[in-house]
Amino acid sequence: MAKNKFKLKHHINYIGVGLFLVITSVMMFMGVLNRSTANLITQIAYSIILAVSLNLVVGFLGELSLGHAGFMCVGSYLGCFFAKYMFAFTDSKLLVLIVSMLVGGLVAAVFGFIIGLPALRLKGDYLAIVTLAFGEIVRTIFKNLDTFGGALGLSTKKYGSELFIIALIVVLIMLFVMQNLIRSKHGRAITAIRDNEIAARAMGINVTFYKLLVFVVSAFFAGIAGVIYGHYATPVLYSFFSYNYSIEILVMVVLGGMGSITGSIIAATLITYINFVLTTNLSGDLAALKFLIYAIILIAMIIFNNAPALNPVKERLGDYKNKVLNKITGLLIKKKYDPSQVVDDHAAWHRIPSKIKMDALLSLDITDKNNQNGGDKK
C-alpha cells in the first residue's frame, strides 16, 4: 500500500472526517461553536462508530446482527462504571476517558467473542434473532443490578461539549483499523466467507477464526461508542439499548450500502442529523409528528435506493451526477477521470456488495433454490 501512488478513494474517509475535525475544533477554540452543535457532532461520531462496526458484520461478513446495541450497552455500563471509580484516583478527564473507552471496548469484545460462537453454527435469521436476544438479555441484567444503578441508571461525571473532539479522533482511529483490516488479506478472507462460505472453507480459509475476529472487532468498537455515549449522556439508562436502537444502527448500514464504509459514514451522519433536526424543532404538540416524518423519509429513501423499478431513473440521475462530479474532479485534481482505472481490486470492495445475493443474508432456508442457483452462477 505504502509504495502505491496516493489514491484519493483510499483516503477519502480520513480526509472527510479529518477536515471536519479540524474545522470544528478550530471553531470550538475560537468560541464560535455552540453547545448543541458540539453535541450533535458527538452523536454523529458515536453513530458513525456504531454503523461502521456493524457494517463489518452485516456488510463484509454477511451475517445479520440485531444486537449491536447490546455490545454498546455492555461497553457503556462497564466503561462508565470504571470511569466512576477512576475519578477517585485521578482528576485527568482525558486519561479517564481513554482508559474507560479501552475497558468498555475490551469487555464488549469479550461478549463479541461469546456471540461469535453461535454464529459458527447458526445462519441468517436464526443468528439475527440470537443477537437480538443477546441485546435484550444484557440490558435486562443491567437493569436488575443495583451496582449499576438499577432502574435509575448509572450516573457518572459529565463531560463538556469538547468531548466531540475525542469522539472524532476515535472515529479516525477506527476508520484506520477497519480500512486496513478490510483491505488486507484478512479482509478478503472475510468477504470470501460472505460470498460463499463453503468455497471459502475449501480454499483453506479459517472460517471459525475470521467469524470470531469480525464479531470481536465489531463489538470492541461498539463498546467504545457506548462509553462515549455514556460520558455524553449520563445517566446510562438500560432502556436506551433496546432492539429498536440496534435496528436504527442497521438502518444506517443498509441505507449507506452494505459493505461501504463511506456509505455508513454518510448514512450515520444523515440519520443522526435528521433525528436531531426533528427533535430540536418539533417540540410540544408537534413532537408526535416526528416519527411520522422520520418514517416517511425512511421508507422513501429505502424505496428510492432499492426498488428495482427505479433503476433506469437512477441510472440517468447517476450519469448526470457523474458528469458533474467528473467536472469537479477535473477542476480539483487536474486528472481526467478514467473509468477503466476504477476496475482495480481495491475499488471492487466498494462495488461487490451491490452484486451479492442478499437473499443469502436473511434466508433461513439454507437450501433455498434461488440462493443455490445464485451461488452456482458465481
Binding site: I129, L132, A133, I137, F291, I296, D359, S363, T367
Partner: protein, 287 residues
C-alpha cells in the same frame, strides 16, 4: 397448575401473532416487523367500533376488515416496490411502516392507554383454581384457527400455490402461479390473523395504546423462531412454550425481574441445540 393455564392463554396470544409472522416469512421471505402494529390498529378499530356501535361482534368484524385492507395496502405501497430487492431493505421499510402506524395512532387517539371492554367473561372454577373463560376461548380459537389454516394450505388451490411459492418462487412462477397475487393474499391472511390476535389480546388484556404491538410482536417473533420459522405448528408450539416459560418465571419472585432474559436465553439454547428451531427443517447446504 393455574400458572400453567395462565401461561397457555398468554401463549395462545403469542401463537396467534406468531402465525402471522411465520406465514409472511414462509412465503414472502421477509420479517414483517410491522405485524405487531397491525395488531395495534386492530385494537383501536375494536375500540372505535365499540364506542360507535356498542357491539363487540361488529367490532371484531370491523377489525378484521380494517386489518386485512391495511395489510394489503401496506404490502402494495411499501413492500411491493421492493420485490426483488434485498430482504434487508424490506426489513427496514417494515420498520418505517411500524413507526408510521404508531405515530398515526398517537396523533388520532393520543398517547394515553385506553381501556376496552369486549365483554366480561368471568371465570370457571376447576377444583381450587379459577380459570378465566377468556383464556379458554383464546386457547380454543387458537387451535381452530391453526387447523383451519393448515387445511387451507393443504387443500385449496391458493394454499398450495402459497406452498409452492415458499418452496421456490422462481419455479412457481414458471408453473404459472401469480406470485404477486399469492403474496398479496398472504399479507391479507396474515393481517386478518392479526385482527384475531388483537381481539383475543383485548379479551385478556383490556387496554390499548399506540405501542401495544411492539413487545408482543417481538415475543411472538421469538416464538416463531423457537418453533422453526415458516412452520405453522411450530409457531403454535413456540408461542405456548414461551407463554408458559414467561408465566413460570414471573411466578418465582427471584426470577421475575429476569423474565425477559430467561425467555431469550431459552431461545438461544434451543437454537444452539436445534439451529432451525423445534420444527424447522434442517437441510444440508450444497455447493
Amino acid at each position: 397448575m393455574s400458572t400453567l393455564i395462565d401461561g397457555l392463554s398468554l401463549g395462545s396470544i403469542y401463537a396467534l401473532i406468531a402465525l402471522g409472522y411465520t406465514m409472511v416469512y414462509g412465503i414472502a421471505k421477509m420479517l414483517n416487523f410491522a405485524h405487531g402494529d397491525v395488531i395495534m390498529v386492530g385494537a383501536y378499530a375494536i375500540l372505535s367500533t365499540i364506542a360507535l356501535l356498542g357491539s363487540p361482534i361488529a367490532a371484531i368484524v370491523v377489525a378484521i376488515l380494517v386489518c386485512t385492507v391495511l395489510g394489503i395496502f401496506i404490502e402494495k405501497l411499501a413492500y411491493k416496490p421492493l420485490r426483488g430487492a434485498s430482504p434487508l431493505a424490506v426489513l427496514i421499510t417494515a420498520i418505517g411502516v411500524s413507526y408510521f402506524l404508531q405515530s398515526v395512532a398517537q396523533l388520532i387517539y393520543g398517547a394515553k392507554s385506553q381501556p376496552v371492554t369486549i365483554g366480561n367473561f368471568g371465570s370457571v372454577a376447576v377444583g381450587d383454581t379459577k380459570i378465566s373463560l377468556a383464556a379458554i376461548i383464546t386457547l380454543a380459537a387458537g387451535a381452530v384457527i391453526m387447523s383451519a389454516l393448515t387445511l387451507f394450505i393443504k387443500k385449496t388451490k391458493m394454499g398450495r400455490a402459497m406452498l409452492a411459492v415458499s418452496e421456490d418462487r422462481g419455479a412457481a412462477q414458471l408453473m404459472g402461479i401469480n406470485v404477486n397475487k399469492v403474496i398479496t393474499v398472504t399479507f391479507a391472511i396474515g393481517s386478518a390473523l392479526a385482527a384475531f390476535a388483537s381481539t383475543f389480546y383485548l379479551m385478556q388484556i383490556p387496554s390499548t395504546s399506540p405501542t401495544l404491538g411492539a413487545m408482543p410482536g417481538i415475543k411472538a417473533f421469538t416464538a416463531a423462531v423457537i418453533g422453526g420459522i415458516g412452520s405453522i405448528p411450530g409457531a403454535m408450539i413456540g408461542g405456548m412454550l414461551l407463554g408458559i416459560i414467561e408465566k413460570i418465571s414471573l411466578s418465582i419472585p427471584v426470577l421475575a425481574p429476569y423474565t425477559t432474559a430467561l425467555e431469550f436465553s431459552l431461545l438461544i439454547l434451543i437454537l444452539l441445540v436445534k439451529p432451525t428451531g423445534l420444527l424447522g427443517k434442517l437441510k444440508r447446504e450444497k455447493v
